[in-house]
């Protein structure tokens, strides 16, 4: 089984318009790596110059908020859902 990843609208131009992608991995970091392998244009958006997860990325894993600094090691299991939140402020 795979992990379901919900993309915000701004990233759907890279996913062929799909709001949900599927990927594999034991952690959020591994899931993002897998997505970047299958959709190389997403790599720019997930990882910075040092290949760290971009510092402002916020994931919601089955209702739990996970910031970038914890995402590398945050465990996920097959069937889980990760929402990549477009956490903006103001207008």
């Amino acid at each position: 089984m795979t992990i379901r990843v919900q993309l915000p609208p701004v990233l759907r131009s890279v996913s062929g318009g799909r709001a949900e992608l599927q990927a594999s991995g034991n952690t959020i970091g591994e899931v993002l790596e897998d997505l970047a392998r299958t959709n190389p244009a997403l790599a720019l958006h997930f990882f910075d110059e040092a290949h760290a997860i971009r510092r402002n990325i916020v994931c919601i894993h089955d209702g739990e908020l996970v910031r970038a600094n914890c995402a590398r090691t945050h465990a996920v299991r097959p069937g889980d859902e990760i929402v990549l939140a477009n956490a903006l402020a103001g207008g």
């Binding site: 244009a41 910075d48 510092r55 970038a68 477009n86």
Partner: protein
């Protein structure tokens, strides 16, 4: 004659098209992204720089201004480079992770795209210059610029340490200029290997906050500079600068200096006419008394006069450095920080509002 405008805003790009510059079609593309710059290459492909505070920067391409495709590559510094701590403080407001405290150098915006001699250049913040020789499919750092011996002394403006202007010489592919806020203006005469600072004559005491520079690439050595410290002209490729403000409104800056403050400056190359938009100094950064006026020079910045017919008398918005463009057919276009878009088809004799209510406008480029 089709004129196309790419208006980059905080939340996407307004794409306007017209055959007669009276009736415009419009659509809103790249929704949700900061669109900070655009360019077109010699084969007619359009490039738009996009950014997100969360998902970083990228470049979109389109051959018809309808369908956009994101390139897999974008300008990125090599890992491990030392960043500018002051720049980090200015752009790191949402740095929950404390990543900037580690001191790395990151591309957080692409502020200009410039195509010349088969090369696509990108000027970015944290200040850097990149070049692509394959239509954006891969990018290389211009190391001679990015590792300039004076880099450790570069200071950001309030908007960050930003390489925002790239100019080239149509007759000499080895000559390139780059403007950086607030490290000044630089020129390379050897294709980017080495760079010299070109700010002699600019009346500045702290940093060198160049805002925008324009010229005709076919007569590249004559340059016009809207600086934080006024409007200047150079007739020797930037070696020396002279004030060129006759007829422009003079306002007071925060340190008491008096000059004509503004951001964009553009040229209609066929007529050589210049256009600038003076603002009420750096304290206020909107048109004095709300009277929005474009100033035009017909004689190479020797004299300027206002062209405000059709522009509002109650405008307290700013106009950012990249937010004015020329279609090189007599059309000049600019956008405001409150989302007003204005244009003229007769070199400023009359203006009309092309759009209202757009998000904050970062960039306006016109293509004919």
């Amino acid at each position: 004659m089709t004129i196309a405008l790419i208006v980059g805003t905080k939340k996407g790009a307004a794409i306007l098209k017209s055959e007669d510059r009276k009736n415009w079609s419009s659509e809103f593309a790249l929704k949700g992204w900061h669109v900070t710059a655009s360019a077109r290459d010699a084969d007619g492909r359009y490039y738009a720089a996009i950014a997100s505070d969360i998902f970083g920067v990228a470049i979109m391409v389109s051959d018809d201004l309808k369908e956009w495709r994101q390139l897999e590559a974008a300008p990125r510094f090599a890992p491990g480079k030392k960043g500018n701590a002051d720049h980090h403080r200015l752009v790191g407001a949402f740095d929950f992770e404390g990543k900037y405290k580690e001191g790395g150098r990151f591309v957080d915006q692409i502020w200009t795209l410039h195509f010349a001699h088969g090369n696509l250049y990108a000027g970015v913040s944290e200040a850097g210059l990149f070049v692509s020789k394959d239509r954006g499919e891969s990018w290389q750092e211009v190391e001679g610029f990015n590792e300039h011996p004076t880099r450790s002394t570069w200071m950001p403006g309030a908007g960050g340490l930003t390489a925002h202007t790239v100019l080239t010489d149509a007759n000499d592919p080895n000559r390139i200029w780059v403007g950086v806020s607030a490290a000044g203006f630089f020129r390379s005469d050897d294709g980017g290997k080495s760079w010299a600072q070109k700010n002699e004559g600019i009346d500045s005491t702290i940093g060198q906050c160049v805002h925008r520079i324009t010229h005709d690439p076919k007569n590249a050595s004559v340059l016009f500079r809207q600086d934080h410290r006024g409007v200047y002209k150079s007739e020797d490729a930037g070696d020396t600068w002279q004030r060129a403000e006759a007829g422009l409104p003079i306002t007071e800056l925060s340190d008491g200096h008096r000059c004509s403050f503004g951001f964009p400056i553009v040229m209609d190359r066929p007529s050589k006419k210049l256009f600038a938009i003076p603002l009420d100094g750096d304290n206020f950064r909107f048109p004095a008394n709300g009277h929005l006026a474009v100033y035009r020079s017909d004689d190479g910045a020797a004299h300027w006069s206002a062209r405000a017919n059709g522009l509002p008398d109650m405008s307290f918005a700013g106009i950012l450095r990249g937010a004015m463009g020329a279609d090189q057919k007599g059309g000049i276009y600019f956008g405001t920080t409150s989302g007003g878009l204005y244009g003229t088809a007769d070199l400023g004799e009359s203006w009309s509002e092309l759009a209202a209510g757009l998000p904050r406008i970062f960039s306006v480029e016109a293509y004919s």
